[in-house]
Structures are given as C-alpha cells and as structure tokens.
C-alpha cells in the first residue's frame, strides 16, 4: 500500500534516532547548551565511510533550525490558502513536509556556497536569505516580490541562489555549470544542485554526472526523493529506485530527509568531499510532501490518505525536532510555543503585505529583456503599440 519511499522513510522509524535522556525537572536552570543524538544509518555507495551517526547540536542552532522549519511550514500553508482564494495563480508547489532538507542542508553550507533547485523552491528561497514577505509578494505577483512579480512561484532568485526552475531536470546541468565556474575561479565553495525522484531519470542528469565526474566539479547532486513524481510513484518511473546509487561512478549516500540533523551531517560530509577536490557527490534525502504535486493536484488519487496521515503523525520533521529538544532539555515546550507564535505573527503580517502591495506598472513589462542595452522599442499586442525596454 505504501509507496516505496514512504516505506523507506517509515523503515527509519525502526532505527529511530535515540537520544541522551535527561528526565529531570523542567526548570529553566536545567536547560543544556548542547546535546548529542544518534541518527539512523546512512546508506553508502562507492564510499568506504560515511557521515557520522552521532550528531551534536547547540541550543542556539537547534532553535534556529526549528524556527526556520516552522517558518517554511507556515509560509507554505499561507501560500496554499492564498492559492485557494485565487490571490496566487498558476502553479504553486508546496514544500510542506520537506523542510528538514532545505534547513538541514543550509546548516552545513555557507552563504558563499551556491544552490539551484527545481520548482518546489519556496523553502529554499527562504533559507537562501529571501524574507518570507518577498516570497509571498512574488507569489501574489506584486512589485515587492523577489522577482517583482514577473517570475512567480517557480522563478525566484537570490544571492548565490539560481531559482526556481520550471523544466524538470534542466537545473541539474546548470548546477554543474555553476560548480565549473567555482572550480575555474579557484573558489573553495560548492554548488548544491537539487532535483526530485521524477527528474532523476532525465538523460541530462546522467550527462551531467558524467562531465562532473570527469572534470572533478565541486557539485553536490541532491535527490529530494519524496516518493512521487507528480502522480507517479517511484517504482513506476524508475527501474532503480536507489537514487543515491544512480550516479554510478559518482559516490553517493542516502540520509533520512525527515531528520534535520541527519541532513546536516550528510551535507557536511558531502561538502567536505567536494571542497577537497575529490569531485562530485550524490546525496539522496528520503523525504515526503504532504500536499499534492501542486495546488491543482489533491495528492490523494495516487497515494492513500493513511500514508499521508502516518507521515504527519510519526515522521514530521518539525515535531521530530521539537520532541528531541524537549526530551534532552535543549529547550522548553514554552519557548518553542513562543517561536510558533512569533513565526505565525511574522507570516500573517507578510501575507497582509503580500495582498496589499501593488503590482508593477504595466509599462515595466517591457523591461529586463536584455542587460546593458540602450533603451529599445518592443512590440506590444498590436502593430500600433510599442513599449520601451530599459
């Protein structure tokens, strides 16, 4: 009944991360500064050793990850509601359920590293530094949107963040190209190129693996395997669903994508590998999306509701982190509740602005065609209508 990936994610329940339990009084004085946890096993491909299963996190970092994931969750929920009330149009692919991937990876990267992903990009746009209000305003098509409303959901860009790409798989060679530029300029930074289980079968992805390996490009290929390519479960699309092995000669590993600390550790491992000049690495994160493929897909015709409910109940990345933090006194339930309220207030305020801000004036539709070009005439919708592109 369960999809292959769902089974995979559920299997990791069997080796549920253990913690150092401190069952004592819950006074604030007992709050610890850091704690150590054990993640579930990483699957390895062409690697003698993998990331550590023992992960340590500081209180500050843990709360930061919690806040970031909660922000993404609330922002995506708000986006879903705005879509239902038709304030957001076109395509809207929500990241809810996959928060640990973006937050965990970002935790092991720096703003100087580069990231490119596909269309399920709102969470990444946020972790890459774009404030939620500018993401939501882009979704509502306003001039305060990160692309002034010209791009929409799938075309948001930021510092060292190349979107937001609408054509399945196209972002992967682009990511290797970014990595090429990094190597070319002698940088120590890496590029993370994300794609899904559906895109993993694309020919251009394999062409990219080949060149990246031949040329030792500092590229981390990340397969966010959420079990379904639109409405097609992985078993029906891929002859080999072990996506971390699909790079063949590219070493790979699989981590639990619902565990933000496991994702961080795996990314740290992969980034170190790439930075040391050893060439590309493939990282598969087993994750799950709660919503349908996009807002026009209910997400329940090809997977059982029980599966979605079970994921939410037992594998939710935010709940998982909250439970961990409370269990070892890294944080109290009260302060996490406060974070929830703060995030909610921030997103609510952003939504109001995203609804109220104006769109670009129509004349500006002609801008941004070419860079560094003196102003030129652009034909409009009839032979007597021209705009000026600036």
């Amino acid at each position: 009944m369960l999809s292959c990936a769902a089974r995979l994610v559920r299997a990791q329940i069997q080796s549920k991360p253990t913690a150092c339990w401190v069952v004592a009084t819950r006074g604030y004085a007992d709050i610890v500064d850091e704690a150590t946890f054990t993640t579930s096993e990483y699957a390895l491909h062409k690697l003698d050793e993998g990331p550590s299963q023992t992960v340590t996190v500081t209180r500050d970092d843990a709360l930061k990850y919690y806040r970031q994931m909660q922000t993404i969750r609330r922002m995506e929920t708000a986006a879903g509601n705005l879509y239902k009330s038709k304030v957001i149009r076109g395509f809207c692919h929500l990241y809810s359920g996959q928060e640990a991937c973006a937050v965990g990876m970002e935790a092991a990267l720096t703003p100087n590293d580069h990231v490119i992903t596909a269309y399920r990009a709102h969470g990444w746009t946020y972790t890459r530094g774009v404030p939620p209000v500018n993401i939501l305003a882009e979704l509502t098509g306003r001039k305060t949107g990160v692309a002034k409303g010209k791009g929409g959901s799938m075309h948001m860009y930021g510092h060292n963040f190349y979107g937001g790409n609408g054509i399945v798989g196209a972002q992967v060679p682009l990511g290797a190209g970014i990595a090429l530029a990094l190597k070319y300029t002698g940088s120590n930074d890496v590029c993370v190129a994300l794609y899904g289980d559906g895109a993993a079968n694309q020919g251009q992805v394999f062409e990219t693996y080949n060149i990246a390996k031949l040329w030792d490009l500092p590229c981390i290929f990340v397969c966010e395997n959420n079990g379904y390519g639109m409405g097609t479960a992985v078993e029906r699309a891929s002859a080999n669903t072990e996506y971390y092995t699909r790079g063949d000669y590219v070493p790979g590993l699989r981590a639990d994508g619902m565990d933000v600390l496991a994702v961080r550790e795996a990314t740290r491992f992969a980034a170190e590998w790439c930075r040391s000049g050893k060439g590309p690495m493939l990282l598969e994160v087993a994750t799950y999306r709660y919503h349908g493929h996009s807002m026009s897909d209910p997400g329940t015709t090809y997977r059982p509701r029980e599966e979605i409910q079970e994921m939410r109940k037992t594998r939710d990345p935010i709940t998982g982190l909250r439970e961990r933090l409370i269990s070892v006194n890294l944080a109290t339930a009260e302060e996490m509740k406060q974070i929830d309220l703060d995030v909610r207030a921030e997103i609510d305020k952003a939504v109001e602005q995203a609804k109220a801000d104006p769109e670009l004036p129509v004349e500006e539709m002609y801008n941004d065609i070419f860079v560094d070009e003196p102003p030129f005439k652009v034909r409009g919708t009839n032979p007597f209508m021209y705009g000026i592109s600036k």
Binding site: T381, N382, F384
Partner: protein
C-alpha cells in the same frame, strides 16, 4: 461564448417547436476535452496499432484529464505512463512508429517538447524525405500549447511557428470541439507525423456538435481552413483560442456596421492559402490574430504569403498582425493580461486597416 449563446438560442427555439413529428433535433454539446477524449477512444477502438503514451496519461487520467478513462478501458498495453523524460519517450514513440505502430505521444505542454524537439524534427519530420519515401513515421504529438493562466515564462510559449516552420511535419491547431475531434482523428489516421497543438484554457469550453460531428467517422481534413463567420469589410484569420477572440471582436464591430470575415485556420501546415486568398480578394483587408510572439510567427508567414500572391493587388491596406507582446510571459496578472492580445487589439487594428481610426 458565442458558441454557447448560439446553442442557447437553438435550444430554446427547438423546445418551442417540439411537435411529435417535426421537431428539429437539439444539437449535442461537448467540451474540447471530451472531444479529444472521444477522438482517441474511437481511433483506439478502430485500430489496434494506435496507442497513447506520456506523463500521467494512464493512472492519473491525464494531467488535464484529456485521457480520462482510456487506461481503464484499454489497459497498460495501449495507454502507457512514462517517466518524466521527454527526449527518451518521444524517441521511443518515433521508433515504434517507424516499426509500424501508431503512437499518440502526449507532451504535458508543448514547452516540454523542447526537450524532445530533435526527435520530432530530425527523427520524425524529415525521415520520409531522407529515405526517399521508404520509411514512414505515422506519429501524433499532442498536448496543450501557448499561454495558460499565470504559469509564467517557461510554461507559456506558443510553438505554432517553430513546428510550422518544418517541412515534413503537419501541424494542426484546433479551436472548437468539432475541430478538436475531427483534426485529432485525421491526425491519428494520417501516415505522416502530425503535431496537434491544443489549448489548456479551451479544454473546458463547451461547443455545439452537429450530428455529423458526433459520428465515429467524422473527420476534419488537415490543410483546410474554416470560415467561422462570413463578412465583407475585413478578414480576420487566426488559430486556436484566438479564433474566439476574433469572433468576439467581429460581434463588437458588427454593432458599428463593420462586418468581418473570421477564418479559423485549423491547420498551420499545410496552410490553406486558397481560402485566405479568396477571402482577401473579397474583403481587401486582412488582420492576423495569434497568441504567439510576432517575430517569425504565424501572422508573419501569412503576411508573406499574401504579399507574394495575387491577393496583394486586392489589398487596400497593409496586412496587420495582432500577436502576443514580444516579451517572455510575465507572471503578475495585469502584466500577463497586457502581454496577450485582447478584443480591443483586434478592434483597433481592424479600424486602422479600414482607415476608420
């Protein structure tokens, strides 16, 4: 809209005339989606070698539900879900056609066909010629083309001009349900590679269907345009959704006693020059209307054809083109609206052609 109003009028008069023996039949109605579904169903029933492949066409019933019910009826052998790998599955489809099958290869939108365009052009379109008539490729590539609503730059391109450019390829672009059913059936029966460009925004539009159109042997010939509305002052020629725009504009202009002839191209290649030229000779004015970009577009080709024909001597004004704006499609609603042609563009351009404005 015009189609619905006609239907409403027809229905009401039929009801009033419902005697027991001589009532005129109420015309059937069908959405474009159902017309396409019916076409595929009928052709698959008729010919075992016809099959459908593409993303989400089987178990999901089609991304836009165009193939609803077909997998349940015909099974895995005839309706195949593919991975998201256009170059691969288009190539596989072409190969199967070379070996005698009659594939219908669906692109979820024609934007994604760019991933596979080499297979469409180099493997399908040119092969009959390169083999001096030895090797046929009886394939249909179909899917939604052009702008939808708010899907931004990468998902809004019109490919009529790109595919229409290539000899060896037939390219059809239906407007109504009758067009959709008849053209798709003809395309499937045609032993040549045919690109059938549908329109997502038209899938849910209801059109009247004549008795003839409802029959299983109903075909719309490829290469023949349809005069949707006769007129005398100006010819409007268009394809796909823009035909509706022309009909609306014609209604508006009629109130000012300007009578436009509206031609629905139906086929981009081979284009029905004869119908175009005859109409221009009659009205002396021509305006082309399309959703795609102006440069090297369908309208540009029509202008060239008319210039080079004897219809040139009949023109009382230059041929004008109404098109999408020459920019990548913006997402924001007011910008998108301003990027696509509207009735006011057509009305203005007709009046300019007639030197009224």
């Amino acid at each position: 809209m015009a189609a619905l109003q006609t239907l409403a009028r027809r229905c009401s008069t039929s009801i009033l005339k419902r005697h027991f023996s001589v009532s005129s039949p109420v015309a059937a109605q069908m959405t474009v989606r159902d017309a396409l579904n019916t076409a595929m169903n009928e052709e698959m029933k008729r010919d075992e070698s016809v099959f459908l492949l593409g993303e989400e066409v089987a178990e999901y019933d089609g991304a836009y539900k165009v193939s609803r019910g077909l997998w349940r009826k015909y099974g895995d052998k005839r309706v195949m879900d593919t991975p998201i790998t256009e170059m691969g599955f288009a190539g596989i489809a072409v190969g199967s056609a070379m070996a005698g099958l009659k594939p219908i290869c669906e692109f979820m939108t024609f934007n994604f066909s760019m991933q596979a365009i080499d297979q469409v052009i180099n493997s399908a379109a040119k092969t009959y010629y390169m083999s001096a008539g030895k090797q046929t490729v009886p394939i249909v590539f179909r899917g939604p083309n052009g702008a939808a609503a708010g899907v931004a730059a990468q998902h809004s391109q019109c490919f009529a001009a790109w595919y229409g450019h290539c000899p060896g390829l037939k390219v059809v672009s239906p407007y109504s349900s009758e067009d959709a059913k008849g053209l798709l059936k003809s395309a499937i029966r045609d032993p040549n590679p045919v690109v059938c460009m549908e329109n997502e925004l038209m899938y849910g539009t209801v059109f009247e269907m004549s008795d003839e159109a409802m029959s299983e042997e109903f075909l719309v010939p490829i290469g023949k345009a349809k005069i949707e509305r006769e007129g005398t002052h100006c010819t409007l020629v268009s394809h796909s959704k823009s035909v509706g725009l022309c009909l609306e504009a014609a209604q508006i202009l009629e109130k000012e006693n300007i009578f436009c002839e509206v031609i629905n191209l139906r086929t981009i290649r081979p284009m029905d020059e004869e119908t175009l030229i005859n109409s221009v000779k009659k009205t002396n004015h021509l305006v082309t209307v399309e959703g795609g970009w102006p440069q090297f577009g369908v309208g540009a080709e029509i202008v060239a054809k008319v210039m080079e024909s004897d219809a040139f001597d009949y023109l009382d004004a230059p041929v004008y083109r109404v098109t999408g704006a020459d920019i990548p499609m913006p997402y924001a609603a007011t910008l998108e609206r301003a990027t696509l042609p509207g009735t006011q563009d057509v009305v203005l351009t007709v009046k300019k052609s007639l030197h009224i404005q």
